[in-house]
């Protein structure tokens, strides 16, 4: 019983800092957002860029976090300014869904094509049994082997 109480206390202690860090909902992290958003000038994620445009966007993110915006609100505001291309991960709906479905469709199509080709090649020609050696050839093989072993 005391073990169970100790385990519960340890769990509560482990969860306490997380609860304290997220009062009334999740506070977005600038680092997380910078990894999910693309600099429109250099077209890498913000955390990989130090261009003036990227630095300005990073400042905007910090400003909006301080103002209490959620992660989604910050992303929505940046999409309104720079378009959906600012999102490193395309939206999982509408036209953005194509970015998720096309690679899967291409992968499935490629796998099906490879499977069909492999099946067709495997069935193309049954392997013919090797022709038996004639007496002369058999004698020469035996001689060669005897010389090799001797």
């Amino acid at each position: 019983m005391s073990c169970l109480a100790a385990a519960l206390a340890a769990l509560a202690a482990a969860l306490a800092p997380a609860a304290a860090a997220a009062p009334g909902g999740e506070r977005p992290s600038a680092a997380d957002l910078e990894a999910q958003l693309v600099c429109p000038v250099c077209e890498t994620t913000l955390d990989q860029s130090s261009s003036p445009a990227a630095e300005r966007m990073k400042a905007f993110i910090r400003e909006r976090i301080a103002a209490g915006d959620s992660e989604q609100e910050i992303k929505d505001k940046l999409v309104r300014e720079f378009g959906p291309g600012v999102l490193a991960r395309p939206p999982e709906g509408g036209f953005g869904l194509l970015a998720w479905l096309l690679p899967l469709a291409a992968l499935a199509g490629g796998a099906a094509a490879v499977a069909l080709l492999v099946r067709a090649w495997a069935r193309a020609r049954p392997r013919e049994p090797a022709a038996p050696l004639d007496a002369e050839a058999e004698r020469r093989v035996d001689e060669e082997l005897a010389r090799f072993e001797g």
Partner: protein, 186 residues
């Protein structure tokens, strides 16, 4: 049956190659804008791609082709671009000097925050029309790869001259004035 499967697989492979070639062609066509500057440098006058963009200096939008009959200095800029800060007052002077002769300076702010662009315009006292292209959608059509870049269009909407980089030196400014004179005289 086996032959049909083989044909289907070959058809799919050929279709994939055709699709990739089409994507390549589309990508090259999108970058065709890079030719505008080259064609203008050779003395040709390629037609400037039309666009309709939201205005930053007032409500509504601006369509480039609505400016036919007037020469246009089309300047691509962003508030975070350092050379643009030096160039902006010169463009404002050009606008004031040639406005009555039929010139319009149009600033296209791209890959920027609207709020920053408006602050930039206030700081440099810009009074010419400003439009906003946050995602930079029209940049490929003009072959714009950096800021600032400037195009001078004649009264028919054709490119007379292109300037990659800031028009800040005396020589470049003189070249821009000559291009504007040609554009107005067309």
């Amino acid at each position: 049956m086996r032959r049909q499967a083989l044909l289907a697989a070959q058809g799919a492979a050929v279709g994939l190659v055709v699709l990739l070639l089409a994507l390549l062609a589309w990508s090259l066509l999108r970058q065709e804008g890079g030719n505008l500057a080259q064609l203008a440098a050779r003395g040709e006058r390629p037609r400037a791609p039309d666009f309709t963009l939201e205005r930053l200096d007032r409500e509504g939008s601006l369509t480039l082709s609505d400016l036919r009959g007037r020469a246009v200095v089309l300047n691509f800029w962003a508030s975070w671009c350092a050379p643009c800060k030096e160039e902006a007052p010169f463009l404002e002077r050009m606008w004031r000097e040639y406005r009555a002769k039929g010139l319009v300076v149009v600033g296209v702010d791209a890959k920027d925050f609207r709020r920053d662009a408006r602050a930039f315009a206030r700081r440099f006292g810009l009074t010419f029309p400003l439009v906003y292209d946050g995602p930079g959608d029209i940049l490929p059509a003009y072959g714009v790869t950096g800021f600032p870049e400037t195009f001078v269009l004649d009264r028919e909407g054709r490119v007379v001259a292109a300037f990659a980089g800031a028009v800040n030196g005396e020589e470049e400014r003189a070249r821009l004035r000559r291009a504007v004179a040609r554009a107005l005289g067309a």
